[in-house]
Symmetry: C2
Subunit: 240 residues, 2 copies
């Protein structure tokens, strides 16, 4: 039997989903803004139904909120959500890291070293303000994924990934307010070393601090931007 057909790649809805997700976590689509169909239809060059499907999936991912029969909005950012999200992330990341350190093999170690190297090199190439680059963000995400990838739990990894993506929107805010990114870079190296040394307690503590520090930075410097729960509900879909 000729089983080797190309499973083909992407359904168009899946493609739009991916692009919208990136646009949301990078705040091209602003938190709290209404997602009207007409502009989006042009923006992504698809029809109502296809758009709708992507939106629906994003709802289940927590990046978009469906308001009864009143359409969709980009999930708002709020202080309460940031704090909650941080606590849950700490719980999940600690456990995933603990398991990964317990179970990780040579390939896992190599992947960590590899992604760190790529991240480091890209950073040098980009110079200061490297953290504003979407490319760097991508590699940064891959590095953090690599750390926990050997945890052996698909469910934990999936939950972690969704939380990580949601947190990206807050990280983005963080980078605008007194970014201590030189320190962040040192942290990444320190975390990697602790992980490769297979020290679960120290690794988890470092990861927790790594996560909490970013949150504290946002709370301290950008906290006032959140009024109550729905910040900057203003501007509609950004054309660019």
């Amino acid at each position: 039997m000729t089983d080797g057909r190309k499973p083909s790649g992407e359904t168009r809805a899946g493609d739009v989903l991916q692009r919208m997700r990136l646009d949301i976590i990078s705040c091209v689509l602003k938190p709290g803004s209404k997602l009207r169909f007409e502009p989006l239809k042009d923006m992504y060059a698809v029809s109502f139904s296809t758009l709708r499907e992507a939106l629906s999936r994003l709802v289940a991912e927590g990046l978009v909120i469906a308001e009864g029969q009143r359409g969709f909005i980009v999930a708002p950012l709020s202080l309460a959500d940031l704090i909650d999200l941080t606590d849950v992330r700490v719980l999940i990341e600690r456990e995933a890291l603990r398991l990964a350190i317990e179970k990780g093999d040579d390939r896992w170690e190599a992947e960590i070293i590899g992604t760190y190297h790529r991240m480091d090199r890209l950073q040098s190439r980009l110079g200061h303000e490297y953290y504003l680059s979407e490319d760097w963000s991508k590699v940064h995400g891959e590095f953090h994924y690599a750390l926990v990838s050997a945890c052996g739990s698909p469910n934990l990894l999936e939950i972690r990934q969704k939380l990580f993506e949601r947190a990206h929107r807050y990280r983005r805010m963080s980078s605008q307010f007194r970014p201590k990114w030189r320190e962040k870079d040192v942290e990444h190296r320190t975390i990697m070393e602790a992980v490769l040394a297979r020290d679960p307690k120290r690794s988890s503590d470092l990861i927790e601090r790594h996560i909490r520090e970013t949150t504290e930075n946002v709370v301290e410097h950008a906290g006032h931007l959140f009024s109550g729960g729905i910040p900057r509900a203003g501007a509609d879909v950004a054309a660019e």
Copy 2:
């Protein structure tokens, strides 16, 4: 301003989503089975697009899997998934319960006692094999939700709820194989008492055992039904 309009209730897609979710977690739609559009269209009396939207959301919830351009299947059950799911649930439930015990107020306690009472009464009314009733399952779910509802973390609660629903499909298997449901009932009471006594360690340990015992029961008595990873890929959409 007349703000008191009825926000209306359900979009039709949302309604279908809910019904399909119930049908999946109660295994009316069999794990691994292909979800063809024509039969489903008749079954739920909606059109392609509406159906598609519901399916899309279920994909993001992990109850349905989208296979490239080859349609949708009900997420299969597997031994590996059950074990992984159990471990993650234990992590989440323990933490949520710990927080709830720390933060819960009088209303929280009342809700626990209330749902337990309803569960207990319904059980008496249904007699033996009460656990096969969908109504009882619903109240059972509400009881377990009540226990952790005061944890103060919307994100944790949402994750917990999705995992709980996914686990329902395995619980259903459990009930078919030597159900020790008399013991389960005692466990619920014991858990409630420990929680109301605000003993976080004991409560979490009891919850963990409560969850793991069901899993062990499935592994022991139904484990052989899982071959590798994709069990009973057979039968299509069950008409009833």
